[in-house]
Amino acid sequence: MVEKELQNNPYRKIDSTSAYRRLMTAYYFMVKHPAWFGKKVAWITSGGPVEPLYAMGVLPFYPENYGAMCGASRMSPSLCEAAEQKGYSHDLCSYALTDIGSFFTGKGPIGRLPKPDFLVCGNNICGTVIKWYEIQARALRVPLFFLDTPFFHDELHQHNLRYVEKQMGEYIAFLEDQMKRPFLEKRFKKVASRSFEAISLWREILDLSRNQPAPFAAFDAFIHMAPIVTLRGTRWAVRYYQKLKRELEERVKKGLGAFAREEIRLVWDNIPIWYDIRNLSKLLSSNGAVLVADTYTSAWAMEEPDLTYSLDGLARAYATIHLNRGLGYKMQKIATLIEKFGAHGFIMHSNRSCKPYSLGQYDMRREVTRLTGKPGLIIEADHTDSRSYSPQQVEKQILIFLDIIRNKQQGST
């Protein structure tokens, strides 16, 4: 049924996707065979400062990004089960369980995970990663560097910032020790400038969807975000996003959207439901709805990058990312996205195994609706583990929600 209706609302394939695939294949090839390229590998959290790694010639590997791959390829449930058999609770973050399961079994979309020389963990996204990286540091017997970025509920205090800045110094000393070579400021500035270039491009790309119709749906962004996470700081990421941006600008010029029909514009909150992206995208588009913005991919689209490319600037940037900030900020951010992108409503994924993203969503939904007048829907799922997901129920909820929006639209015309 959905398939048939979709033909009435065709999806426009992004040509740059093939370049994206080549890029990510090359990246995974390198990270799987670091010795061939004379590189060391560090596992790093998605909010960890990657620029110093690239500046030191270390290849970063992102278990969370890998978790997303496992989720999208529907391999997560069996990997989570493998971790659970070793005593890990089913209620833990499914990215962590997937990674631990993959480590135990050697299974996953790229087979055995690349063995890291050391680990870099930043808790600016959550407390889960500390535990997860401690487990892996013990299992793999490798050193762990931990960057502690205190959460800021409302204000960022000077001593808080100093603390993170000083740790950046410790981070560099740790890297020098691991790599047995000095950290070169000049190389770092180069990497930081590329990183900021990629971030700016990514922001500009996401902003293109303020146009109506939106040339780039959030479901596209979920896929094409991989380079901004994993390759931030490299020339590859910059080139790739330049290419993608050109293609999307072309669409805007021609007035083409990601879908032929765009009647309802929506904002998404939380990590995607990786294993159900395709179905959800079809369900929405067949009903004329498009996700035009989201809080997840926009977390890598910093508003005010520090153009001095200093380590202190880096400390500030990493200490103030979306997930490290309080509810007031998050509410305002969704409200702003709704406004900026001309959305008619928002969908919140209440993600059972990601607390920092999901706690507060109920209050947030009420408040964002109060601020914007737009309705919000909360759906229950998990970002990678489909075992407690009920697609029929979610489908029903979405259809009712779209009806509400449609009725509202009709009422106001």
């Binding site: 890990y88 209620d91 500390i130 487990i135 502690d148 959460f151 509920h153 603390y163 607390k355 507060g360």
Partner: protein
């Protein structure tokens, strides 16, 4: 003996009061300030003339909380928000959150958003307790907290703070002695009594508590040591000092000789130096030993601390009593279990939710575990 029972009954009465009744029963002239974790230096609140009042996950039938929290949060967080939303904590003048886990972090934001209490403070304890940079940051954060207390409650003079530190140290010393008595005289102080003694501490004026505690110790010190025949166990987990759990263990033939509970022996690790600047002393104590799995003191800290403590206590088995959904503990559990196994120490994992409802299923498992450890 009668005096001993009346002291214990008094502490039990305090420990079993429902929060909604506490306002009228307990409070003297000290204004009550809520908190959850040992990361909040209670001494500062006491020194300012207020009562640090700990929220300890009371039994609660959930009816309000579902509109604010997803179901997969621990009982401590759910029950606290539930009674708060019901207005049963309106007697508090303020609340102090300290940075620990993601759930508590989320709770703090939701709590603030209800705008129900006159004030709220987030004390941002560093997560890394293993770095040179943590100390100056943490000290500055404690000073910020002191400033906040002075602005909202009352002045904290150096003299008052020193006196408060001495008082809390004395309480720690006395509680440590109670733990010792539990090892040598388990029958004289039942597990339920013990849990109530610990629990009452967090709910009442600490001067009054210290008075009752020292009276009790004085009486206990005249008892003769006896050969115990209960199986010595170590209890690890969250803030689960609820009498029923301790009774279940005892009924099965075990006794808790030491623990790593958030409301229990972990508090003893916060002994504070009295010979240096008090703020410096409060800062240092949090960085000198492993306190809980939400903090990072190195990848092996938790394992090493557990093994050392279990061996020191002479426990022959470990019970992990975790709140369902407590990620920090569940992440550490498999490696802790394996480490215990390599030392031939058996362990049992029990998942608990509301202490009022989860006992039935626990009974059989505790009995089987203690039975396995009992000498034939």
């Amino acid at each position: 003996m009668e005096k001993k029972s009346s002291l214990i009954r008094e502490l039990e009465r305090v420990a079993s009061l429902e929060y909604k009744d506490i306002g009228s029963h307990l409070l003297g002239d000290r204004i009550p300030i809520g908190f959850f974790c040992p990361y909040v230096p209670e001494e500062l609140i006491h020194a300012a003339g207020a009562l640090p009042f700990r929220l300890m996950g009371p039994p609660a039938r959930m009816s309000h909380v579902q509109a604010h929290l997803p179901p997969n949060c621990c009982h401590l967080v759910k029950s606290s928000l539930e009674i708060f939303l019901r207005g049963e904590l309106d007697f508090l003048k303020g609340i102090i959150f300290s940075h620990t886990c993601d759930t508590m972090q989320g709770l703090s934001d939701i709590w603030a958003f209800q705008k129900r209490l006159p004030f709220q403070f987030n004390l941002m304890m560093p997560t890394n307790v293993n770095s040179e940079t943590s100390r100056p940051y943490w000290k500055a954060e404690i000073e910020r907290f002191k400033g906040f207390i002075e602005k909202n409650i009352g002045e904290v003079t150096p003299q008052n703070l020193t006196t408060a530190i001495q008082l809390f140290n004395r309480i720690r010393k006395n509680i440590r002695e109670i733990y010792q008595f539990r090892r040598t005289l388990p029958e004289e102080l039942t597990g339920a009594d013990f849990a109530n003694i610990i629990r009452a501490q967090y709910l009442m004026d600490r001067n009054q508590y210290q008075f009752l505690l020292s009276e009790l110790l004085e009486l206990l010190s005249h008892q003769k040591k006896k050969e115990g025949h209960l199986v010595p166990l170590y209890l690890a987990g969250n803030m689960v000092h609820s009498a029923p759990y301790f009774s279940l263990i005892e009924e099965a033939g075990g006794t808790v000789v030491s623990d790593d509970l958030c409301s229990g022996a972990r508090f003893l690790r916060l002994m504070t130096r009295e010979d240096i600047d008090p703020i410096e002393a409060l800062t240092q104590r949090y960085l000198s030993s492993f306190l809980c799995p939400t903090k990072h003191g190195g990848s092996n800290d938790h394992i090493e601390t557990l093994i050392r403590e279990v061996e020191e206590a002479g426990a022959t088995g470990v019970i992990f009593l975790f709140y369902k959904y407590c990620e920090s503990h569940y992440f550490d559990y498999p490696d802790l279990k394996t480490a215990l196994e390599t030392k031939s120490i058996p362990s049992l994992l029990l998942e608990v939710d509301d202490p009022a409802t989860s006992q039935g299923q626990l009974k059989i498992r505790i009995q089987a575990f203690v039975g396995m450890l009992s000498p034939i």
